[in-house]
Symmetry: C2
Subunit: 210 residues, 2 copies
């Protein structure tokens, strides 16, 4: 599993006859395996309990506390890597750029439904991440997938199906905000899961449609 | 200043000839002054830095660490009282029930504008509170002011100016979510403050209007 975290062993000086390139390569591979195990464990653990301790994450990952802290100095740093990983996975599921020949309003509906399905996979991770990272850092993590929304908004304005009386940035934020609100509402029991997708789509199309 | 926090001295047994009712009353008054100073200091400190430490809050409040911890055992407990206090103030500014003779759509517009102005006073406190308390607890704090939104939604449906194809709970959440999103967007610099109120009103009226 690839992560965006830098290898904590990089640049460590050689310490004797066994520390040649192959030994260093082995330590790097060990470090990468540890990081992958920690990120996997953290993704599950944070989803189950936003206040899970670093000690518990180390236990689930099968690594020692010292190893965990050598790669991630804080819960925040670890959550940052977990979110980057989750968004990258989500972005890959969303696939490449949407077909330009699909009318923008239809493309928006499709994007709402696929984003909603993907958000469902990460269940409570977003609630935990919001607490650990704060709303602004969470939003930054979503900049890449939100490029799709921006492209549809731009195209939809040209086609006259997206409102052009409000800033584009704001319309993108409305999309992001209502999507995540719907997930929180389902999680809290205020919105029925079988109603959520339709409610979200109807609300978003009214809010940002022309 | 009244707070909702219970007096930590309540129920403490008398400890000698000086601990009569008047001495206990004095200690209770001291405790209330400390709590008020701590909540005031915390409201300012959290607004400036969501990660401010309990030690720094004690310093700004002019109380010792032991006193602070005797009243609030954690940052979360303190933030909970700060938010209760802020929402109570906000709710008082919003005033009593809205006039029933105002048409619902007009009443909704007024409520959006007054809520937006009040939210502006608490600046970055909401960002800090979201991190410390999590989105669900934050939402619970707003249940009382959101009764106004629910009443207008119910009345607006009867008047045919609020959409009736989606659950009432969801429309209330859309109001809450977009209001707080607009505040975050202004805070992050993505939305211009002079545009925000109009953008918020236009979006909300489209999202939940009939």
């Amino acid at each position: 599993m690839a992560t965006t975290h830098k290898d904590a062993d990089a640049g460590e000086p050689a310490r004797g006859p066994l520390s040649g390139p192959s030994s260093r390569g082995r330590r790097r591979a060990d470090a990468e395996r540890s990081i992958a195990a920690i990120v996997d464990a953290a993704m599950t653990a944070f989803s189950e309990n936003s206040e899970v301790s670093m000690v518990d994450i180390a236990r689930v990952a099968g690594v020692g506390r010292v190893t965990l802290y050598s790669h991630f100095s804080s819960r925040e740093e670890l959550m940052d890597v977990v979110m980057a990983h989750a968004v990258k996975e989500a972005n890959a599921v969303l696939g490449g750029e949407e077909a330009k020949e699909t009318p923008a309003r239809e493309a928006l509906g499709e994007l709402i439904r696929s984003s909603w399905q993907i958000l469902g996979r990460y269940g409570r991770l977003q609630v935990a991440a919001l607490r650990v990272l704060g709303p602004e850092r969470m939003r930054e993590h979503h900049n890449e997938p939100l490029v799709r929304v921006r492209n549809i908004v731009t195209r939809g304005r040209r086609e006259g199906v997206i409102r052009d009386d409000l800033p584009e940035d704001w319309l993108v934020s409305v999309f992001y905000s209502l999507l995540h609100t719907a997930a929180l509402e389902v999680d809290s029991g205020r919105l029925r899961p079988e109603t959520a997708a339709d409610a979200l789509e109807a609300t978003l199309l009214s809010a940002i449609g022309a």
